[in-house]
Symmetry: C2
Subunit: 187 residues, 2 copies
């Protein structure tokens, strides 16, 4: 992972009149309070205001993540929010951190529907990252475990993810076992 970029986001706050459905990913089940690590970091759904809290610089530690303008971010957020509970992005927020660096970890779940398994569902975990300065506190594991719980609650018969061989032991802590190889074509 690359070093965390320290670019701050100085954006106007959204007006209070913006409906919550447009600013927070839909959820049929509220997330329980975070208590596992005893710190003040909360795991919750992505909010549109997280662009101002360092969400994109955090993702850039995982892969190329050019900045998105406020409207580009909002469009991407709306595309994903339209998928409802079939697409969940969780973030770990530290309310004690500087405003533009509050998002310390994130991870995504999307639910794929199949004809297999009687019209079964599979959860795919993607884009898991923990801020380089916040590693070792179990934040990534909290995010991934919550995503797995959500997938189970949604009726998925399995959850899968792809990772580097070095991360096998990390994901084993969340119950994952190795199943195969990941292949890719890049354009």
């Amino acid at each position: 992972c690359s070093t965390r970029k320290k670019k701050a986001c100085h954006l106007p706050k959204l007006p209070a009149s913006v409906p919550s459905s447009r600013t927070q990913m839909a959820s049929t089940s509220p997330e329980p309070a975070a208590t596992e690590t005893g710190d003040s970091v909360k795991i919750r759904r992505l909010q549109i205001a997280d662009r101002e809290r360092g969400f994109l610089p955090l993702l850039s530690q995982l892969s190329s993540c050019p900045d998105l303008t406020e409207s580009e971010f909002a469009a991407c957020f709306a595309d994903l929010a339209a998928l409802g509970d079939d697409h969940v992005i969780l973030v770990a927020e530290d309310p004690a951190a500087a405003p533009e660096r509050r998002i310390l970890s994130t991870g995504c779940l999307f639910v794929e529907r199949k004809f297999l398994r009687g019209g079964g569902k599979v959860g795919h975990v993607e884009d898991v990252v923990v801020d380089a300065a916040a590693r070792g506190r179990g934040l990534g594991l909290r995010v991934v475990r919550r995503l797995v719980e959500i997938a189970k609650g949604a009726g998925c018969y399995k959850v899968i993810l792809d990772c580097t061989p070095e991360l096998r032991a990390y994901y084993a802590k969340c119950g994952f076992v190795e199943k195969g190889v990941q292949m890719a074509v890049y354009f």
Copy 2:
């Protein structure tokens, strides 16, 4: 893969008045004619009538695939068709085969949208299978290559899939290279 089940589907045909958008997966670009293998097998989008052509027994060679009633199949088809070009199921149909065994291969592509890569898209290839009696004719490769073309045309920056280690060389024929390991949790 298990041996192909020979269960035939004897279902009434859909009335001719059913709109094509309800019976065929949406497409913004028609598939070109199949010419690669010189046989009469055509690669095309899944149609709702493929339930009568052996689509589910074919999938059962890949994984557990209990039969779906006509209405269950239609509901699953509608859920996936609602995703438009973000979810494509291709089939290889042999018009010369017995009516209930015409679908010889299938594969699926779904498109995941991300905040990474400037709001980038990733294609996921899933549920690729070739009828045990039709292997060695390149049908699976035709399906996968077409899925990769569709993903590229949709603006995906990569296409990924998971497979067993034994299938690495097979997917290398379509340009795939090994990238990591697949991990899974089963419920």
